[in-house]
């Protein structure tokens, strides 16, 4: 994975996601950070990304709207979107997966959770 865009209004959360990605072997990737969905969308439109990781609850544009925009764009439709949320439940997770999210994780995250969720992407790159 060469470029990963991370959208979360919390700098602490973005830092934790970056650390987890580094720990699971993605330290060589470029991490581009956004404070809300609108900025995240701008970053994935500006330059191709291999993965978009987004919080759900953000000001200006939330993660669900960001996911909608990405999946509605012919250029971005294949971009895997991983949603990380503090307000998750199975019904919400199912809805986000139906909308095209690659995976949905609940906070607090740790490297093992990210590794398991991203394994299909990382393994498909290796093969």
């Amino acid at each position: 994975m060469k470029r990963i865009v991370i959208a979360d209004d919390s700098g602490t959360a973005r830092m934790m996601i970056c650390r987890c990605l580094e720990i699971i072997g993605l330290a060589d990737a470029e991490f581009a950070e956004a404070e809300n969905g609108k900025e995240g969308l701008k970053l994935v439109k500006q330059e191709p990304a291999d993965l978009l990781i987004s919080d759900l609850n953000m000001p200006i544009m939330d993660g669900e709207s960001l996911l909608k925009w990405v999946k509605a764009s012919p250029k971005l439709v294949d971009l895997p979107v991983l949603i990380i949320t503090s307000a998750g439940n199975q019904a919400k997770t199912d809805k986000l997966l139906e909308m095209g999210a690659f995976a949905v994780l609940n906070k607090p995250i740790n490297p093992a959770m990210l590794s398991e969720a991203l394994a299909p992407l990382i393994n498909s790159e290796d093969s």
């Binding site: 830092m15 503090s86 740790n110």
Partner: protein, 159 residues
């Protein structure tokens, strides 16, 4: 009311332990409000509203010194590299994570809930009957829960 308080206290302790251990490798112990006050620490506070399924307010107060220690570990930064904005953001993210885990734990599976964005607050005196005190690494922290309609909350719980 006592049964509800005990249930909420137990769930708060469980999710606070999980959140702080996962985020910062910090462990906690329950304590009394007097024990927390005796530590005489400067505290920082943050509030968050739970807007669905019932209106609740959750407040987290953490010793400023503890937040600096957590930030030094998490960010691998020296004390003089840290700033107030980073400390405030850390406090807000702890509460955001804590509130999400708390609601997941107290509500029946698959129940929907909604959280507001955390807001820092200087309010120092606790006005909630549901105030739970803890000590982490010798520093105090507390969690306060306020409900607009406590009876409504009671009926929603995963008890």
């Amino acid at each position: 009311m006592e049964e509800l308080t005990t249930f909420l206290h137990q769930k708060t302790t469980e999710v606070l332990e999980e959140t702080l251990e996962n985020m910062a490798f910090v462990s906690i112990e329950e304590c009394t409000s007097d024990e927390a006050l005796n530590l005489k620490q400067q505290m920082l506070g943050v509030n968050l509203l739970i807007t669905e399924p019932e209106l609740l307010e959750m407040r987290l107060n953490v010793s400023k010194e503890l937040l600096y220690q957590i930030a030094e570990t998490m960010y691998t930064m020296d004390r003089d590299e840290l700033n107030d904005q980073l400390i405030n953001d850390l406090l807000a993210e702890i509460l955001n994570t804590l509130a999400g885990r708390f609601m997941t734990e107290i509500l029946p599976p698959d129940s929907d809930f909604a959280l507001s964005i955390p807001e820092l607050s200087d309010e120092e005196e606790s006005t909630s009957e549901l105030t739970f005190n803890y000590i982490a690494e010798d520093f105090p922290l507390s969690v306060e829960i306020k409900a607009a309609e406590m009876d409504n909350l009671n009926s929603l719980l995963n008890t």
